[in-house]
């Protein structure tokens, strides 16, 4: 790992001040990994772990306010999350391992970088995320794990987070503070598509710090299903987060997919196919077809399109059977 300077921020003001030149670090599970690989090379890191952002609180109106420094394990096992937002708890527990969940934070998980093997390998010259304009080694390369939705001719890397898929269905809001003040950002608009600029992954501006995330109350049931190469401790090949409020017919539905999109993939198309219909296998399949209608596979990840559909059907089936 290359040498760098370290600043421990004692409060929000000092963090934001140091953040003008430094890179924020909290759990470090993603940043330290990428620094050791030589992919990320900050000159200065700013330790924000002393900031008072480790609380999960009930928000006014019944929602939840989650501090950016809440550990993934604390969030997953929080009674309010387990009772009211099972999709979030299940998604968090489907990600990483207990040790990493004890380190990784909410803010860091939102911002975790892709697992594309060409992005991870600093010896590969072509990666538009790592070295803008250098090309994409995954296009035409080994791309079994890559995205089929939201891709561009510059990048097909997936967003690897499970938690993000759940937050996308929960209509979360990301609250940030920066040199120019505070902003509240809709979670579904927080991550950006690769397009011409895969090196830009979110609307977060340099020096801005995620302070907390809010999620509104949910009606109906929610659930997360993840499919991967091994039983545990692996990134998703496909995953689905669903919130469904249904009796004879489906009143409201929220659907997001993971492992297949270049960003956490909220599917309005699937939701439109569900609302007003009966919760039957046919309806679920129709929704899955709608969710993947725009999918474009590569030679070695074509299987993901059908896999994602079946994953979504399973999530909808399980959540409607309670």
């Amino acid at each position: 790992m290359e040498p760098f300077s370290y600043v421990a921020a004692s409060d929000e003001a000092s963090a934001l001040d140091a953040g003008r030149v430094g890179t924020f670090i909290a759990g470090g599970t993603n940043l330290v990994d990428y620094m050791r690989l030589g992919v990320l090379r900050p000159n200065t890191i700013v330790d924000i772990t002393k900031l008072p952002l480790s609380q999960v609180e009930e928000a006014a109106g019944g929602g939840l306010k989650i501090g950016a420094l809440v550990k993934n394990s604390d969030l997953a096992y929080h009674p309010l999350v387990e009772q009211r937002y099972p999709v979030l708890s299940e998604a968090l527990l489907a990600g990483a391992s207990p040790q990493i969940r004890n380190m990784a934070t909410t803010g860091g998980n939102i911002l975790q970088r892709t697992r594309c093997p060409y992005f991870r390998d600093a010896a590969v010259p072509q990666c538009n995320k790592r070295a803008p304009g250098s090309g994409c080694a995954a296009l035409g390369g080994f791309n079994r794990s890559h995205a089929v939705l939201g891709i561009s001719d510059r990048c097909i890397a997936t967003n690897p987070s499970d938690m993000n898929v759940a937050l996308a269905t929960l209509d979360a809001t990301v609250h940030v503070k920066g040199p120019k003040g505070e902003r509240d950002l809709r979670f579904v608009d927080f991550h950006t598509l690769p397009g011409e600029h895969p090196e830009i992954e979110s609307v977060l501006q340099p020096g801005e710090l995620i302070t907390y995330v809010t999620i509104p109350p949910v009606t109906g049931r929610s659930h997360y299903v993840k499919v991967r190469d091994r039983a545990s401790f692996a990134f998703a090949l496909a995953s689905a987060a669903v919130v469904l409020d249904a009796a004879d017919t489906i009143k409201t539905a929220r659907v997001a997919l993971g492992g297949v999109g270049t960003k956490p993939w909220r599917s309005k198309e699937a939701e439109a196919a569900l609302v007003g219909s009966k919760p039957t296998p046919e309806t679920f399949r129709k929704a899955a077809d709608a969710a993947l209608a725009a999918a474009k596979g590569q030679p070695t990840n074509m299987f993901k399109i059908e896999l994602a559909k079946r994953t979504l059907v399973r999530a909808l089936t399980e959540v409607s059977h309670g």
């Binding site: 370290y6 330790d47 207990p98 004890n102």
Partner: protein, 291 residues
């Protein structure tokens, strides 16, 4: 023969101060760091040198016979005993196991540290060894509480907790496997919770409580999880075992696992390439039911 400062004793077939003139400054620098002197026994002679002294020939054999003499019988006994110790009990007092292995490999000889009989000098040598090499980046003072004892270190920001434990504090029970948070060999407890010490920067553990595998047993009494791993043969090569045990102890404290399936899922951050998983699960379940 009384020796008052640690002596590194090296056996090298083909060595002489003249032939080694290029390495001598580096050897002296190391000796200064160790607070030790070096005795070299080679085919062609034997020499003694300290950090600041010219090599003193103890005996010489210009004919190049494969033999050497020693000062007296006690020196021979000492040397043989120390060599024998070194074969059985790594690491020697003034070297970490890693340095021992590297030095042995590089120099192609076995060397022995003959520590002085008084432990005061040993302590001095050990602390001298902690003098870091020229740092490449800024250093920061950090106080770690490891297994109940405070240690104050100066470290670069890029030093992981794992490296600080192993390379600076000599606590080599915690293992380095992948160094990327994937294998779990480096699992320790930070403020009572299991984490991967390879992903944790030491500088970010200021005043925090670290428990390593060395801190688990109560004196000679093993922690119940350690005893269970032995009872159920929960290992083969043993390299992943400290991490498995630290993870398993935390798993019980977390209280989320009941079935074997739960245990397997919540131990998924610890890989065992020997495949001792069935016995690891059995050991954890036995410890859980006994707890």
């Amino acid at each position: 023969m009384a020796m008052r400062r640690p002596r590194v004793l090296a056996y090298i077939h083909d060595w002489s101060p003249e032939g080694a003139h290029r390495e001598l400054p580096a050897i002296r620098a190391q000796l200064r760091g160790l607070g030790a002197e070096l005795a070299v026994i080679a085919d062609r002679g034997a020499w003694l040198l300290g950090p600041d002294d010219p090599p003193v020939a103890l005996v010489g054999d210009p004919q190049g016979e494969r033999s050497f003499e020693v000062e007296d019988g006690q020196m021979l006994v000492d040397a043989l005993a120390a060599a024998s110790d070194a074969m059985r009990t790594p690491p020697p007092i003034t070297f970490t196991r890693r340095e021992w292995a590297l030095t042995s490999l590089c120099a192609g000889f076995a060397f022995v540290v003959l520590g002085c009989r008084g432990s005061d000098k040993r302590g001095k040598a050990a602390s001298a060894q902690e003098t870091p090499k020229e740092p490449a980046g800024p250093e920061y003072e950090v106080t770690l509480n490891v297994n109940g004892t405070d240690h104050t270190l100066k470290v670069e920001a890029r030093v992981s907790l794992l490296d600080a434990l192993r390379e600076r504090l000599g606590l080599t029970g915690t293992k380095k496997g992948c160094d990327h948070g994937q294998c779990g060999a480096c699992t320790v407890h930070l403020d009572g919770r299991r984490i991967k010490s390879c992903m944790q920067l030491a500088v970010m553990t200021q005043r925090r409580k670290v428990t390593t595998i060395e801190g688990l047993a109560n004196g000679e009494t093993l922690h119940p999880m350690q005893a269970a791993f032995i009872e159920h043969d929960g290992f083969q090569c043993g390299y992943c075992t400290p991490g498995q045990i630290m993870s398993a102890v935390a798993l019980l404290a977390e209280g989320k696992a009941k079935t074997d399936t739960d245990v397997r899922e919540l131990m998924s951050g610890n890989l065992c390439r020997c495949g001792a998983y069935p016995n690891i699960v059995a050991a954890i379940q036995a410890a859980r039911k006994g707890a």
